[in-house]
Amino acid sequence: MENDLERITTIVRNLFDEYEGPVTPMLSARDVAQWNSLLNVQFLVLVEKEFGIQFSSRQVAQFKNIGELMAALQAKRTPQ
């Protein structure tokens, strides 16, 4: 999980280059001026490519913060 946050942090720093605050599980679009709905799509696709997974359209619209995103990543790894 820690490694997941590091990898997501790299994506956040590269995409939202004006944001200099911490990247924590509580971080959300509200905290980052550049993070609007279009950039949210771009962010999640970068996460998909980094982790080799794909979210549903519904998931793309629903993550409230980095923590929920990380939970979804973990769920995709856990055998059903």
């Binding site: 995409l15 280059d17 550049q34 609007n36 709905s37 279009l38 950039l39 799509v41 696709v45 793309v60």
Partner: protein, 308 residues
């Protein structure tokens, strides 16, 4: 009530529209705050004028227009998802766009309503309207004869035909529904000049020439934009001016030709035999031009051109 932080006093039309839009689409308030955050005095004047026109066109359908803008925003996000995953627009042919969009009257109606509202809410759309009026129409020769191809919501056509410099204005479109929509819009905006809107396909254009041609947000809907530019070159008088506006990296349900950089589009226009008199690059709401280039976000490319 929309706070005066967002809309300053003395702008009742845009204030009314923002109020309606936020009521129907409350999640969009942050986006609209960003959109209006750094408008100049001249920018506020212009958007208030356009808002008055949008209110006239929307009339009793204002609620529906705002709801359809919300719907369009969702559709655009779906297209954005496909675009970011694949690097391509979903459709590549007119047949695909026709099957999924143009041949579906209910969807087309929603789409056109949404696009009408986007002329205010998407900063790049408003900036292209402003560029068109101030740098193209009001700099045309007095008595100019004007053609618009694909007039759609009618705002560009209205700005041209309502100008005191305009001598004659007409438009061509391939869709009966679009022609009807444009007629409605011009009547609602109380345009006094008669404007003929004909069902003519650019690719079957008659042997005529015009001193002023507008071709706004059409190129990205065509399989062969180079062929279209060649026809525009033929249609433009030797001393005429062309206004052209197309977006780069702009996924939408019926966009089929992907321009990836402004330079790709500008080179295509030059290669068609045009000299670029002026260029305006307008990034999407919330983005600087530099950031939009780096992250391949939508940039509206406006060009005023003459024959080389």
């Amino acid at each position: 009530m929309v706070s005066r932080e967002m809309i300053p006093a003395g702008h009742p039309h845009i204030g009314k529209l923002v109020q309606h839009q936020i009521r129907v689409f409350p999640e969009h308030e942050g986006f609209l705050r960003e959109r209006f955050s750094s408008l100049s005095d001249a920018g506020w004047l212009f958007i208030e004028e356009i808002a008055a026109k949008v209110l006239q066109v929307a009339g009793e359908r204002l609620e529906r227009v705002c709801e359809d803008y919300r719907w369009l925003s969702g559709v655009v996000l779906e297209e954005e998802l496909h675009f970011r995953r694949t690097g391509r627009y979903r459709f590549a042919t007119f047949e695909q766009a026709d099957a999924e969009v143009y041949s579906r009257p209910e969807l087309m109606s929603r789409y056109m309503n949404g696009l009408l509202a986007s002329q205010l809410w998407w900063r790049n759309h408003t900036e292209m309207l402003n560029y068109f009026r101030d740098d193209f129409i009001e700099c045309n020769a007095v008595g100019f004869d004007h053609l618009e191809i694909g007039p759609g919501h009618g705002l560009f056509l209205y700005l041209a035909a309502a100008s005191q410099r305009c001598g004659h204005a007409e438009a061509w479109d391939i869709s009966d529904a679009s022609i009807s929509n444009t007629h409605h819009a011009l009547n609602a905006m109380h345009l006094t000049r008669q404007v003929l809107i004909s069902k003519i396909d650019l690719f079957d254009a008659p042997d005529r020439q015009f001193g002023s041609i507008a071709f706004s947000e059409v190129l990205e809907h065509l399989e062969k934009p180079r062929d279209a530019l060649a026809i525009l070159h033929r249609l433009l008088r030797d001393d005429g001016r062309l206004f052209l506006n197309a977006p780069v990296n702009s996924p939408a349900p019926d966009h089929i030709y992907l321009f990836e950089t402004p330079e790709e589009l500008l080179e295509m226009i030059r290669n068609a035999g045009f000299l670029l008199e002026s260029i305006r690059l307008s990034p999407c709401t919330g983005a600087t031009l530099e950031w939009a280039r780096r992250r391949k976000l939508t940039i509206s490319v406006g060009v005023i051109a003459r024959k080389a």
